[in-house]
């Protein structure tokens, strides 16, 4: 299975046509796939809260948005999530590279990993953890759920899901 294509196909099948990204090594393949597709508009952001602003505007303009980012971004987007996405009740699928989990080679990444689920829980943001590649089978349901309830939803994808982080 080409996991990058599978993710992009699920986004497109759920009508997601506006995707903003801040890169992570683990997300390089899916970002490249989205950049090449005609059915998804890709706009890179310089910072993840900026990206959430873009997504909020795109949704009010009639497009279904998504953001692709690293879990460190939770640290810079809490205000945007609480006072924009949640306060105005907007849907936002967040495909998140879950750095600092099993098979992570960079110790500093663990420092945000240990806070990631707690911060999402504190914000009452539904979170799904993809650890095995077959977990991607849930993505279609998660996207449907997100646009049903108009909430931000986190999909945490760790190094094991992506097949290791370079050294395996």
């Amino acid at each position: 299975m080409n996991i990058d294509k599978r993710i992009a196909d699920d986004l497109a099948a759920n009508g997601v046509s506006f995707v903003t990204t801040v890169p992570c090594k683990q997300l390089a393949g899916v970002i490249e796939e989205i950049d090449h597709r005609d059915d998804i508009f890709h706009i890179p952001s310089n910072k993840e809260d900026e990206g959430m602003g873009l997504c909020a505007g795109a949704w009010m303009g009639g497009k279904r948005p998504a953001i692709i980012m690293q879990n460190t971004a939770i640290g810079v987007t809490i205000n945007a999530l609480a006072t924009l996405i949640q306060y105005y009740r907007m849907p936002l699928p967040m495909l998140i590279s879950y750095r600092g989990e099993l098979r992570e080679p960079v110790a500093c990444q663990v420092e945000m990993a240990v806070h990631t689920k707690a911060l999402l829980a504190q914000l009452n943001i539904p979170a799904y953890h993809f650890h095995w590649q077959k977990d991607v089978e849930e993505l279609d349901n998660i996207l449907k759920y997100t646009f049903m309830c108009n909430k931000p939803v986190a999909i945490l994808t760790d190094a094991n899901f992506w097949g290791g982080y370079g050294d395996q």
Binding site: E50, L54, A58, M60, G61, G62, N79, A80
Partner: protein, 184 residues
């Protein structure tokens, strides 16, 4: 002129357009001067007006006017390269540059000293950047609308705020009536 005087003067131009308005006193002033369903008021999230407006302009064809401030642009400077490389012809970013953080007590921003937002927008790749004095805002805004080109309009004006009530409308109501106006 201060921001509220400019908003009063350009209200007839804004009335028929989609407007994304910056957090705090700018939104309170616009709401009090001429509340319209085509206005999206930011009640929080400093810095993201330009980004929300850009997403909106990219998603649909109607013109979008963002009313932003120098302090908010400085908070989210990464927005300028994103605008410079992606903004469609229906996008107008109007930065009311009064050299101060108006909503928090008029503390000076760096644009009151050496920082030049128009120059920064040009350096970020924005092709049509216009800087005007407060009294020339209306004609410059109409020109920007007529140009059909993405425009960054920097309006230099005095620091100061009008005393206006806080917006008590529910955010979901603001968003819902705005989305209906966008689709209508």
């Amino acid at each position: 002129m201060i921001r509220s005087e400019i908003l009063k003067e350009i209200a007839p131009i804004l009335r028929s357009q989609l407007v994304v308005c910056n957090i705090g006193i700018p939104s309170q002033e616009l709401h009090a001067i001429d509340d319209q369903p085509t206005n999206f008021y930011m009640l929080g999230t400093m810095g993201l007006a330009s980004s929300i407006g850009l997403g909106l302009a990219l998603a649909q064809p109607k013109p979008v006017i963002v009313i932003d401030g120098d302090g908010s642009i400085l908070t989210n400077l990464g927005t300028l390269p994103t605008i410079g490389n992606n903004a469609p012809g229906n996008y107008i970013l109007m930065i009311i540059d009064n050299g101060s953080y108006g909503s928090t007590g008029d503390q000076p921003t760096y644009t009151s000293q050496s920082t030049d937002l128009a120059g920064m927008a040009r350096a970020a790749g924005c092709a049509r950047v216009v800087e005007v004095q407060d009294k020339d805002t209306g004609p410059a805004l109409e020109e920007a609308l007529a140009s059909g080109e993405a425009t960054v309009l920097v309006v230099k004006c005095d620091s100061g705020n009008a005393k206006m009530p806080v917006i008590t409308m529910d955010p979901v109501v603001i968003r819902d009536r705005f989305m209906k106006a966008v689709a209508g």
